[in-house]
């Protein structure tokens, strides 16, 4: 097809090219600004997500619920069978419940005898999962609680059983949780019976690997992995999962949290534990008074014993 060379679009083409070039440069500039000054752009992003995603709320929840129902639909087919099975399991559970209650009472008595004090400030806020990260290369979810509810960056989130992730990015009404499987997630953990410290670093697979184990010989598949609280932000002792050996002979962690059904997440309010910064100085003899030092020494030793568990 021979083109007519006198149409007005032939004259506007160079102008158009310059405009498009300018647009590309502007986009790349946004990228560079983000690379250089990431926190500010991320704050803008959080504010944008905070505005946009909750406005989809009315549609997100019903569709998610409908999909989940569709997922469960096949179980309706054998509902009688399932009912029977549940009854049997309930019977067993009753026995277990009795045992658990007895153990709980025993545990409370022992704790009382030992005068152990659990951290009374460890409370939680529960949020509903609003949205996914939307990208196959990012593992994060959006909760419907935010700065309004007192959520802060870095707090731990759990589903009913295990640690799920860490708050990263808080808007007014939403907060983003970076899951343990995301490639940006690094959590200090302890492997339980041997007490080995390690770093759980997500790599975008379902079972993240353990890095920097001091003595890998002491760690066996099946060991419990709990958070170690080394960073100072996470509380220690939260269940993470079990050690498993991957096909590549690396030690990985099978996570306890059920990542396929993240509906509600608990955000643990962790308060900064008191730091012990000084190696400890000599206590000079008090200028005069005799009864004072005893009163001061007692809480100080109690802090040193309980602060770094």
């Amino acid at each position: 097809m021979a083109r007519d060379r006198s149409t007005p679009e032939d004259f506007s083409r160079p102008v158009r090219r310059i405009l498009v070039g300018g647009l590309v440069v502007a986009l790349l500039a946004i990228f560079l600004i983000w690379r250089i000054d990431s926190p500010r752009v991320e704050r803008f992003r959080t504010a944008l997500v905070d505005r946009v995603v909750p406005s989809f709320d009315w549609a997100l929840l019903p569709i998610t619920k409908a999909a989940a129902m569709l997922d469960d639909f096949q179980s309706y087919a054998r509902i009688y069978e399932q009912n029977q099975q549940l009854r049997r399991e309930l019977q067993q559970m009753k026995a277990w419940r009795e045992a658990a209650l007895q153990l709980e009472q025993k545990n409370a008595r022992l704790l009382d005898l030992n005068q152990v004090r659990l951290d009374p400030r460890l409370t939680h806020v529960t949020g509903v999962v609003l949205a996914d990260s939307g990208s196959p290369f990012r593992q994060s979810v959006l909760l419907n609680v935010g700065a309004r509810d007192g959520i802060r960056d870095g707090w731990a989130t759990m589903d009913g059983i295990g640690l799920a992730g860490r708050i990263s990015g808080v808007g007014n009404t939403t907060a983003r949780v970076i899951l343990l499987t995301d490639s940006n997630s690094r959590i200090p953990v302890t492997v339980q019976p041997s007490g080995q410290r390690a770093l759980l670093s997500g790599d975008n697979t379902a079972a993240p690997p353990l890095d920097f184990i001091e003595k890998p010989d002491l760690v066996r598949p099946g060991d419990r992995v709990v958070s170690s609280g080394d960073g100072g932000v996470f509380p220690a002792g939260l269940l993470v999962g079990q050690v498993a050996q991957g096909p590549d002979r690396r030690l990985r962690v099978r996570l306890a949290a059920d990542y396929e059904r993240l509906e509600f997440l608990r955000v643990l309010r962790s308060h900064e534990s008191e730091r012990i910064a000084e190696p400890g100085a000599l206590i000079p003899p008090p200028p005069r008074a005799a009864p004072l030092p005893e009163a001061e020494a007692l809480p100080a030793t109690a802090d040193a014993g309980g602060g770094d568990g």
């Binding site: 946004i30 196959p136 490639s183």
Partner: protein, 179 residues
């Protein structure tokens, strides 16, 4: 013939934004995507390229840039970079929309496949240059392949459902200009 086309430009632009919003919405649904599964195709990229080759006036450059930038921001990608890549790919194809009209669909598909691969690899190259962590090469290539395989499907749907097709030779728009 001219009347529906003239009225169609703005309504199709709105339709493009609505489709992009719907795709974004579907991807944000918390349906429990487990880490390590294979990524699906990038349908927004596919839709953009199909429309650019069919009717370039439906998807102006500014609209593409804004829509993909919004996607970047909501999907926690580095903002701006993928938008720039998509814009470059779309503009490259826009200047060649006349060429593909004369050649067959297979050639067009091959051209689009090359452009998608170039955009993905360029994206990874820039990420590597500024030393950002990125997803595995295998996963990215699988996603690009999925996008390429979806292309004929998106072409068919665009034609059947939204009436986006290549103008016939000698067809004119509302102002009597040749398209």
């Amino acid at each position: 013939m001219a009347e529906p086309l003239a009225a169609g430009v703005w309504s199709h632009r709105a339709l493009y934004v609505a489709l992009a919003g719907a795709l974004l919405f579907l991807r944000l649904l918390p349906l429990g995507s487990v880490a390590g599964t294979w990524p699906g195709p990038d349908l927004l990229l596919c839709l953009t390229l199909v429309w650019v080759l069919r009717r370039p006036d439906y998807v102006p450059a500014l609209l593409i840039a804004l829509v993909v930038l919004l996607e970047d921001l909501l999907l926690m990608r580095p903002p701006g970079l993928w938008a720039a890549m998509v814009l470059l790919a779309a503009e490259f194809l826009r200047t060649r929309s006349g060429l593909t009209r004369e050649l067959g669909f297979l050639v067009e598909w091959l051209l689009v496949a090359a452009v998608i691969l170039a955009a993905v690899l360029g994206y990874r190259l820039v990420l590597a240059l500024v030393m950002l962590p990125q997803a595995g090469l295998g996963q990215t290539l699988v996603q690009a392949l999925g996008t390429i395989l979806c292309y004929p499907l998106v072409v068919a749907v665009s034609r059947a459902a939204f009436g986006v097709r290549k103008p016939a030779t000698g067809e004119t728009d509302a102002y009597g200009r040749r398209m």
